[in-house]
Symmetry: C2
Subunit: 278 residues, 2 copies
């Protein structure tokens, strides 16, 4: 395996969910990969400080922590709880020495049909969190999710919408996640990637492929790189042309991958990455 | 039931798929509804001329025929077959005295990752079909489908893309379908509805609600009006502000509705239409 070409590859832990954090650390080191993306629940289960120590000992850096967000509630108490939870997520990100907290904005509150109002509540929440994030040296990265998640998970569906929100704040505090899975269908994405890069707002770049048929609930329908419809090399070229030279994180939620041997999945991800995204 | 307020309502036959064409005709007349939208397969099964006679006898007009399209194949023989099939669909539309053939553009050919090329093949097919459609007095209505269908069903995902294609041709020959289910998430939709209306290109206006969780394959996940996230009144206001005064067609694919008594479903559709879209 070409370790030089893997120098920008980061493995999001949900891609190999069957692995514990120690298995992830050992497996990545063995494969010549020195970056991982993490999720809060497994990190909390293992212990935040303990995870930080494990990864530091293995020489691994953390490219992002998933996830904060869920800012769209109408109930004031629920909104206050969401902000508290996001402050905790920022503390965790700082403890893990990652500079990026990924934000999934949240869907429509029950009974609401007001996408515009929900997006404004995302902006209000960002205003509240930016000073706290700045103190911890962590960037807030707004992730637009595919429009099929607009009602139940994320009212921010396009990179343009994410940038409209992010640009209300300084670029070193609020940026965006460019995730191929969510954006591949959008003919405006290339121009918006250029906009994001020019503004220094590509805080995370994630890869997963688009495959069909979508499973019930659609959340776990992401494909291994190369199995689907996405032209990763074009996405990477667009991001790099816009000045992005950061980590490239593979984040695939797929039960078939989770049922396999973790080392096999990691080897396949690295091979597909070299084949399709380099 | 307020028959005056139902004067613009059209029932797409797939909404009450459990009904035969005679049942649909009888049921609509009984409910004070004088317009239906049809699909080719059930019409062919009953007979095109026979359907035309049945509906004329019942005093029902046909607001649209679904569907032509599937223009994206790379294989020349497959493309020729698609054009032949669309000519047949135009003949059927003319025989049914509807002025509108709905087009679903088609997805990516196997192994292709080139959405842009696929959309150009849609434009080429339109060029081929426009003269034939003009001779029959039928308009070609490009339907943008939700981005979750971009790979396997329709590479035209937004109203802007549909209009970019349609505007290469005269407005009385090629227009668009504004279907709330496919467009509700898009913050550009209001401006594009204004563009479509100003150009006289809203050839069909269809309603279905967005509900979750999406079922496996996502095709049959549409919701009864009022059960989901879509603000129908805003859509209707936008279309009417843009000059649209045509039929409003309810097209819901939902197995739970198909399992019920057809007359009950029709009564519920009419009631929800009055409640949410008038």
């Amino acid at each position: 395996m070409n370790e030089q070409s893997l120098s920008r590859l980061s493995i999001n832990q949900e891609t190999i969910k069957q692995w514990s954090l120690p298995e992830l650390a050992e497996g990545c080191v063995a494969a010549g990969i020195d970056k991982v993306g993490l999720w809060r629940a497994p990190v909390q289960a293992y212990g935040v400080e303990r995870t930080a120590g494990l990864l530091a000992d293995a020489g691994l850096s953390v490219t992002s922590l998933c996830r904060g967000g869920f800012f769209t509630a109408l109930d004031p108490a629920e909104r206050a709880r969401a902000l508290d939870d996001n402050r905790a997520a920022l503390d965790e990100a700082a403890a893990l020495s990652t500079d990026t907290l990924v934000l999934v904005s949240g869907g429509l509150p029950p009974g609401s049909r007001d996408l515009y109002g929900a997006r404004e509540r995302v902006a209000e929440a960002l205003s509240e969190l930016v000073p706290y994030a700045a103190e911890r040296g962590v960037r807030l990265a707004i992730e637009p999710l595919h429009p099929m998640f607009a009602s139940d998970r994320c009212v921010v569906s396009t990179l343009a919408q994410a940038l409209d929100l992010a640009e209300r704040f300084p670029a070193d505090r609020v940026g965006v996640v460019v995730d191929t899975y969510h954006l591949w269908w959008d003919d405006q994405a290339p121009a918006q990637i250029a906009r994001a890069g020019a503004g220094g707002r590509i805080h995370s770049f994630q890869l997963a492929d688009w495959i069909t048929p979508l499973p019930e609930g659609v959340l776990l329908g992401r494909g291994q790189l190369g199995d689907g419809s996405i032209d990763f090399r074009s996405f990477r070229t667009e991001a790099e042309s816009a000045g992005f030279d950061g980590p490239i994180e593979v984040e695939i939620f797929n039960e078939a991958l989770w049922a396999r041997d973790g080392a096999d999945v990691l080897a396949e991800v690295a091979e597909r990455y070299l084949q399709h995204a380099c």
